[in-house]
């Protein structure tokens, strides 16, 4: 079975100009996984909000641009 690889990271030491490309270490990978979960949650929330907004506009019978106009936005 092929070894599962972790995402790569790049570290550029700007003092020595040394560039290291390596796989994430444990701490970085844990943070990456946490970000992934947070992003999935945020995306689900954004999609739910967009769906609710579309449903409300449909119920009101106006477009998003017309709603923006009512709210005084540009």
């Amino acid at each position: 079975m092929a070894k599962l690889t972790r995402p790569m990271v790049r570290i550029h030491n700007v003092e020595t100009d040394e560039i290291i490309d390596r796989e994430m270490n444990d701490a970085e990978f844990a943070q990456y996984e946490a970000n992934k979960a947070a992003q999935a949650t945020a995306q689900a929330e954004a999609e739910a909000k967009a769906t609710a907004k579309a449903a409300l506009l449909t119920r009101l019978g106006i477009t998003a641009e017309e709603a923006q106009l009512l709210l005084g936005g540009n």
Binding site: P7, V9, R10, E15
Partner: protein, 216 residues
């Protein structure tokens, strides 16, 4: 009497006081002429302890510290020299491999100590306890049409927050070209020694360049 010399009378200044081309006569005290020898090239006349002197002017301007190609899930600029007053970064042509998201910068890899507000695409945007979100809106990952100029002031301070501001341009996923102009601060008393760039935390960079300048 020697031709070319002023008689040695009260109030006269002997030309022999001067020895070198460019020498200047000044009063080292009342009624007491003194010689100021010519300075070195590019030195400027200044005053120190109440008398004129030549001095090398304080250097200013920007120095290119590094050029970095963005790669991987994160790209870190580490060991940032602590010898400048401010940092200026030009971030451009940023693209990602996986999904559309935001182009972000995390001072010292800290994601929750930056507060910003400003105008992004004609709309007032604020972000608290965040990373520096260069593109406030979700950004088209395949578009390299983005560029930002980011200033970080007082970055070596261990006693105060770091003011920052950036402006730039990007293409948002929802459609439309976005011009952005944001200011705020990195709310940390720790000196900034590294800057981490990512594309929303779960992406990998496909391209992009960061120029790091030190500003005196």
């Amino acid at each position: 009497m020697t031709v070319g010399r002023i008689p040695n009378v009260e109030g006269g200044i002997q030309p022999t006081l001067l020895t070198t081309t460019g020498d200047i006569i000044y009063a080292s005290s009342a009624s007491n002429p003194a010689r100021l020898g010519i300075g070195s090239s590019a030195q400027v006349l200044t005053v120190a302890s109440g008398v004129p002197s030549w001095a090398t002017p304080a250097s200013g301007g920007m120095t290119l510290i590094s050029t970095t190609t963005l790669s991987g899930a994160t790209t870190t600029l580490s060991s940032i020299p602590q010898t400048y007053n401010s940092l200026f970064l030009v971030i451009s042509g940023v693209t990602a491999n996986t999904s559309d998201n935001r182009i972000r910068c995390l001072p010292n890899n800290v994601s929750n100590l930056t507060n910003t507000t400003g105008v992004d695409g004609g709309t007032i945007q604020s972000a608290d306890n965040s990373p520096i979100r260069l593109s406030e809106r979700v950004t088209t990952r395949t578009s390299a049409l983005n560029a930002f100029g980011l200033y970080l002031h007082n970055y070596t301070s261990t006693t105060s927050y770091k003011p920052l501001y950036f402006s730039g341009f990007y293409v948002q996923t929802a459609g439309g070209d976005i011009a952005t102009n944001i200011a705020g601060a990195f709310r940390s008393n720790t000196a900034i020694t590294s800057l981490v760039f990512d594309y929303g935390g779960t992406n990998t960079f496909a391209g992009g360049t960061v120029l790091l300048y030190g500003v005196k």
